[in-house]
């Protein structure tokens, strides 16, 4: 072969080989990068799956119980629930945390802050012996019920109510009590006053579950369904 032709031909082949190598290297690099990214993504997905599974298992095992504390001992509390059934709650100095719920906020407190007759919510795991407490929240207990107004005292602003279970409850209508009346045509709730309430009306009420000095419950709010609604 002529030298003049051979040299450019040879350099052209070298150039193409170099270009080919460069292309292979680049494709390898991007391939390994994308593989790495793929693996990282898979690891992330796996981590998320494990975390959600753990959360789900915790959610399944965790239960909430509430009741009034009837006895407080170191490491053990006895509560009486809404059915008047007693339940044992086991606490741990290191694990159990205590909070006070007030005005829709929680504040951390200590075991020593718990008082007999306080109403508590216990979140934890139920065992054969009792509840193993993870968190204890001191909360306000509310009475939410309804019934028929059978007596109205205009002088002292109280109502006697007979519930569906034939329980008689006396309710004080305080200055702070929010009073609502159902408009029987529009079915909207409207602000009302004590004078508009009649014996025979249905009343739905919320009160703090503690009797006041008059031995009656102070109503936080009431909803009146006028008896006329039932005569329609």
């Amino acid at each position: 072969m002529n030298k003049k032709i051979f040299l450019p031909f040879f350099s052209l082949i070298v150039f193409f080989l170099f270009l080919f190598n460069l292309l292979i290297f680049a494709s390898d690099k991007t391939g390994s990068n994308s593989a790495k990214k793929e693996t990282q993504k898979e690891v992330e997905i796996l981590k998320e799956k494990i975390a959600s599974k753990v959360a789900e298992l915790r959610r399944q095992n965790f239960q909430a119980f509430s009741g009034k504390m009837v006895e407080i001992k170191k490491g053990e509390i006895e509560i009486k629930d809404y059915n008047d059934e007693k339940k044992r709650v086991f606490t741990d100095d290191l694990l159990t945390k205590y909070y006070l719920i007030k005005d829709n906020q929680k504040k951390e407190i200590n075991f020593s802050d718990l008082k007999k007759d306080d109403y508590i919510i216990v979140s934890g795991i139920l065992t054969d012996k009792g509840i193993s407490a993870n968190m204890i929240f001191v909360d306000e207990k509310y009475l939410v019920d309804f019934g028929k107004i059978v007596e109205k005292d205009k002088n002292e602003y109280w109502l006697k109510v007979v519930t569906l279970t034939n329980e008689t409850i006396s309710l004080d209508i305080e200055a702070f009590t929010k009073q609502w009346l159902l408009n029987i045509k529009s079915l909207e709730l409207e602000r009302t006053g004590f004078s508009k309430i009649k014996e025979g009306d249905m009343i739905h009420f919320v009160a703090k579950d503690k009797k006041n000095e008059n031995n009656r419950f102070s109503a936080q709010k009431i909803v009146i369904i006028p008896q006329e609604y039932f005569l329609k």
Partner: protein, 145 residues
């Protein structure tokens, strides 16, 4: 009497007897069939029985389950009850009154931190039916589970 005459009479009697048996058999079968037919329920004939009376739909809450711990400050209450009942849902932070056009109802309901006692009461449109109620204890405890 000739032997052939006797045979003809004998065959005639036998044939007549067999024919009588066949006719009797077919008559009794058709009568039995008619009897059976009357015992079976007539699908195509219109029923003279009165329509089944509709029973009272009991108040049922499908969601949420009682004593549930929730991490959000609201919950969707789903249930079913007699159509056109007046439903009152009350908790210490919310009062809701509405009439359900369908048996099923679904409402969003806010929750306060801690225990939420939610009373659900239904007054059926038919005043002869009983007022029904359900109480839910729902715990809004964020980041605690």
């Amino acid at each position: 009497m000739k032997k052939e005459t006797f045979l003809a009479i004998f065959l005639g009697v036998v044939f007549g007897f067999i024919s009588a048996l066949i006719i009797l058999g077919s008559i009794s079968q058709s009568q039995l069939g008619e009897k059976n037919k009357s015992l079976l329920p007539q699908k195509k004939e219109p029923s003279i029985l009165p329509a089944k009376p509709t029973s009272l739909k009991l108040l049922n809450i499908n969601n949420p389950k009682n004593f549930l711990i929730i991490e959000n400050d609201k919950v969707t209450i789903e249930g079913e009850v007699e159509k056109n009942s007046l439903i009152v849902i009350q908790s210490p932070i919310k009062d809701l009154v509405f009439q359900n056009k369908e048996e099923k109802f679904k409402v969003d309901f806010p929750l306060a931190l801690g225990e939420n006692v939610i009373k659900i009461v239904s007054y059926p449109q038919n005043r002869n039916l009983k007022t029904q109620e359900k109480t839910l204890f729902i715990y809004y405890l964020p980041n605690e589970i």
